[in-house]
């Protein structure tokens, strides 16, 4: 008789800490706050994922990466469910994730609506170039002190 081992959801969440965001690989899908629920439905592991932006092409890659990571841990029956509500907000980024973004050169989101300072030289003399950037979640800013352009993770 085969006994199926069903790892604890807390253990699975710990494993998902190692699954990076495909666009911003310094943060994980857990850091991003998009994994909303992990639970067993019988012998199937159900994971609820919420999209950051509705058209973000990373969403389907993230689902694939989660499945692959769990297969490597021996879990084959995974059902990834898209959960729209409550809608994702940058408030769900962990503090650790914000520090990692900054170290990577992306200014983390702030409720004030703009970066605190340049992620490179830390100058507060920064200006917005465009509300839209290299991915749906980012805006383009520029530092007036070191003259470097940088990404700002915008609030939603």
């Amino acid at each position: 008789m085969v006994t199926l081992i069903r790892p604890d959801p807390a253990q699975i969440k710990a494993w998902l800490q190692d699954v990076p965001d495909p666009e911003i690989p310094v943060i994980s899908v857990m850091d991003l706050g998009i994994v909303r629920d992990v639970s067993w439905r019988g012998d199937v592991l159900e994971i609820a994922v919420t999209p950051t932006y509705s058209g973000c092409p990373a969403t389907s890659v993230i689902a694939m990466d989660i499945e692959t990571a769990l297969k490597q841990r021996g879990i084959d029956a995974v059902n990834i469910r898209t959960q729209l509500s409550p809608a994702w907000t940058t408030d769900w980024l962990t503090d650790g994730a914000k520090a990692k973004l900054e170290a990577y050169g992306i200014a983390p989101p702030r409720p004030a609506g703009g970066p605190a300072h340049c992620p490179h030289c830390k100058s507060k003399d920064v200006e917005k170039v465009s509300q839209f950037g290299s991915t749906p979640c980012k805006a383009q800013w520029r530092c007036q002190a070191c003259l470097e352009p940088f990404d700002y993770f915008k609030c939603i």
Partner: protein
């Protein structure tokens, strides 16, 4: 004809047709930042389309998917506003069309957040966050170009004059809208008119543009009764792959 299915097609076809239209700018907008902004806005709109048409397909229950609805329907089955199928024209023209729609869409999505249909409410909340950014940008751009040089002002005025007769369709109601209002799924679109004007008129004044006085409104897009020839040309490009290689996937 299920009124809910029709209503969802209208929502999804609006975002699909506008999303495709502005994606036509990809790689050839006037400056890099605007190119990126247009492509990102298109991406948001196509993402929202997946939610609206995905739900429409479920409601229909005929085994179709969002992709089937997007790629395998012909012009007469589309339910988008005529405004959104208008060709892009110049950059100013594109941004004027975007602004007139964004200012309407934000009212539409805000109202749908309170829909009696929970799925519609959650799509509206999700889309509304993105639409807020779209409106900020299209409003700022319309003001900057209108209140710019005499050349940019003249182009924005001609865009407004050309597009204004297509704005009225956004506020027209038919038996589908009546059915949605009766079920508290969505209010009658006429309710959006006052807040739309409260957002649009001051921005056009700040852009030094004269609002056309004629209230004539072209109609026939959201009902599907009479689309313009432009939609067929647009679909010919958008659907060519699925039409040439039915069922192709990657």
């Amino acid at each position: 004809m299920d009124p809910l299915f029709e209503f969802l097609l209208r929502q999804g076809d609006n975002t699909l047709v506008l999303g495709h239209r502005i994606s036509e700018w990809c790689g050839k907008a006037p400056v890099l930042e605007e190119d990126i902004a247009l492509a990102n806005t298109a991406l948001d709109l196509i993402g929202q389309t997946q939610m609206w048409l995905g739900y429409a397909a479920e409601v229909e229950g005929a085994g179709r998917t969002a992709d089937d609805l997007a790629f395998l329907r012909d012009a007469w089955d589309f339910r988008n506003l005529l405004l959104l199928e208008r060709p892009n024209g110049d950059f100013g023209h594109t941004m004027m069309r975007q602004f007139l729609f964004d200012a309407y869409q934000i009212q539409n999505l805000k109202a749908l957040e309170a829909s009696s249909d929970p799925r519609i409410a959650e799509i509206a909340v999700k889309s509304g966050k993105e639409a807020t950014y779209h409106l900020d940008r299209s409003r700022d751009t319309v003001i900057a170009l209108g209140d710019g040089t005499s050349e940019s002002n003249a182009r924005m005025q001609s865009a407004l004059d050309a597009l204004w007769p297509y704005a009225g369709e956004m506020f027209l109601a038919d038996e589908i809208d009546q059915a949605m209002a009766a079920d508290h799924i969505a209010p009658l679109p006429l309710e959006y008119r006052a807040p739309w004007e409260a957002a649009v008129l001051p921005a056009l004044a700040a852009a030094a543009l004269k609002v056309p006085q004629d209230d004539f409104a072209h109609q026939g897009g959201k009902t599907g009764r009479r689309h313009s020839e432009h939609l067929g040309h647009m679909l010919a490009t958008m659907q060519v792959l699925q039409r040439s290689y039915p069922g192709a996937t990657w």
